[in-house]
Amino acid sequence: MKRTAVAAVVALLAALNARAAAHGEYQEFVRKSSGRPVDCALCHAHSNGPEGTAAGQIGSLSAEELSRLGRARAAFEPGANVDSPILNDFGDLILQRVGKKRVLELRSAPDRLPDELGVASDLDADGVPDAREYLEGTHPLIASDGDPWSLFVHNVRRHVFQLVMITAATLITLFGLGNLLHGFAVRLRAKESAGKGAGT
């Protein structure tokens, strides 16, 4: 009973605070700095943000998830183990690295968030650090989303063995076809000279 009451209060507070929790300043900054359209899915579990009743939004949370949400919102200092049901892994990472207090402070200077995140984290392992993905408006959790050239270079390094093998296979095939062509040309010339010889 007590747990349900606490959950209800947390849900009410969360609903009242939902718009502020979405932190549109970050989204606006990313859109302007990158020139790419972005939505709440950059940090949240749902692309329309935390408000609503769909999966990943506050209205759909169970008591256990509301409890996790409460703990995430209480993570004011960096270093806390955050697992918010309305944030994705990148949203959780931001809270873990900089803390809720700093997230609120940085709303007036969202360009400084990448410095505070550092370059070590790359959640989708696509070779582009999360902080850079934030600046470039690409998704830190989608490996196929990122600066095309950076992804290409990273994937070439990652698949170097396969690329060497396929290049070798192609070159060998081309070598074989070239030799075949040469063989046919020699045969044709021999045939032509034999024809000329017979004619004379």
Binding site: P37, F152, T170, F184
Partner: protein
């Protein structure tokens, strides 16, 4: 003209396009020669388009094993293919890259064939089937774009279907309602939904492949029976045997194309050129995200539609399509020099509007489309 004369003329036309004396392997294969000159590289473009089409078939069949053509599961099944199926991301990426490569090689093939006056008698049917194949390939692009059922797919399809209906305002009387019927027939229901997805899926994987197979057969048959056109006015034109020399060189080009395609498929996600909100599942209740556009190969009609009156663009495009189909007859007397100038102008237009369409739009309108 009397009926007998028309029938006689038709019979002569058919006889010349399907010469019985050449219907043997010797004429169509071993005795066939390919001209050698400075434009000889253009003879490989048709084969290149065929290669990419074959890649489309193979990768498309692989995708069919997992793809679910329902509005509730289509996006999830594509995500499943990309993230959980062994080699799924590679196959899907190869499918995406080879579709673009196929369309690019077809566009260049059409332009070079036009510039070389390869449509001249007796190759009119080769040309007409080639232009029809190009149209069908654009149909493949349009229908395939919807299948992942993401934001850009559904919203771009809506725009495309609306532009069909807009033709009605310029048609007289009862005909004004025809484009609406066409749109409703393609769409299958009041809005783009399950019926649309089912129809596009059927068109993409059954109807269009069968049509392409039939037309491609006729196209290749005509190419083999009449051979490659001379292509240039120069007196000094060499020749090489089609088999084995040209075939081996063609296979070598296919090998290089496969390598390039494989490297792209493995290392450069096609989706990285799109903003991630456009790749999210379509939300019928949500707002339309920014940046909805068709695929790059529709930019030549998309940006003019955004910048010019609808009727002007439609008139221009209709004239261009009809002109392409009847080119062998209306340009019968045109010199290769004139045709080359037209092809270069068309190529410049296509490159400029495709590469610089967005900056041009922004410069002229001052906003994003």
């Amino acid at each position: 003209m009397k009926l007998g004369e028309i029938a006689g003329g038709t019979a002569t036309f058919v006889r010349e396009r399907f010469p019985v004396e050449k219907l043997n392997a010797e004429s169509m294969l071993t005795k066939k020669v390919v001209p050698v000159h400075r434009m000889s590289w253009a003879y490989y473009l048709g084969g290149l388009a065929l290669f990419f089409f074959l890649v489309q078939i193979v990768t498309g069949l692989m995708l069919l094993f997992y793809y679910q053509p329902t509005v509730s599961d289509a996006h999830a099944s594509v995500e499943y293919i990309t993230q959980h199926v062994s080699g799924g991301a590679l196959v899907r990426n190869l499918h995406a890259w080879s579709s673009s490569a196929m369309i690019l090689s077809i566009i260049v093939h059409v332009l070079t064939t036009f510039a070389m006056k390869a449509f001249a008698k007796p190759r009119e049917l080769t040309w007409v089937t080639g232009v029809a194949l190009a149209m069908l390939v654009f149909g493949f692009g349009f229908t395939g774009y919807l299948l992942p059922w993401n934001q850009i797919a559904v919203n771009a399809t809506k725009v495309g279907l609306q532009s069909i209906e807009a033709v009605g305002q310029y048609l007289p009387g009862e005909m004004a309602t025809w484009p609406t019927y066409v749109r409703e027939t393609i769409q299958g229901e009041a809005a783009v939904g399950q019926a649309t997805l089912s129809r596009f899926y059927a068109l993409h994987v059954i109807v269009l492949p069968f049509l392409v197979a039939g037309l491609l057969g006729l196209h290749l048959f005509q190419v083999q029976i009449h051979g490659m056109s001379r292509g240039v006015d120069s007196e000094r034109v060499g020749s090489q045997k089609f088999f084995p020399f040209f075939v081996i060189k063609d296979l070598s080009v296919w090998g290089v194309a496969f390598l390039v395609l494989f490297v792209l498929g493995l290392c450069l996600p096609f989706e990285s050129f799109f903003a991630y909100p456009l790749m999210e599942p379509f939300d019928p209740l949500g707002s339309t995200p920014e940046g909805i556009k068709p695929e790059w190969y529709f930019f030549f009609v998309y940006y003019p539609l955004e910048l010019l009156p609808y009727w002007a663009v439609m008139l221009g495009m209709t004239a261009a399509v009809v002109g392409l189909f009847v080119a062998p007859w209306i340009l019968r007397g045109a010199s290769r020099r004139t045709l080359r100038a037209i092809a270069i102008a068309a190529a410049v237009y296509l490159v400029v509007i495709t590469v610089f369409g967005q900056p041009i739009y922004e410069a002229l309108k001052g906003v994003n489309p």
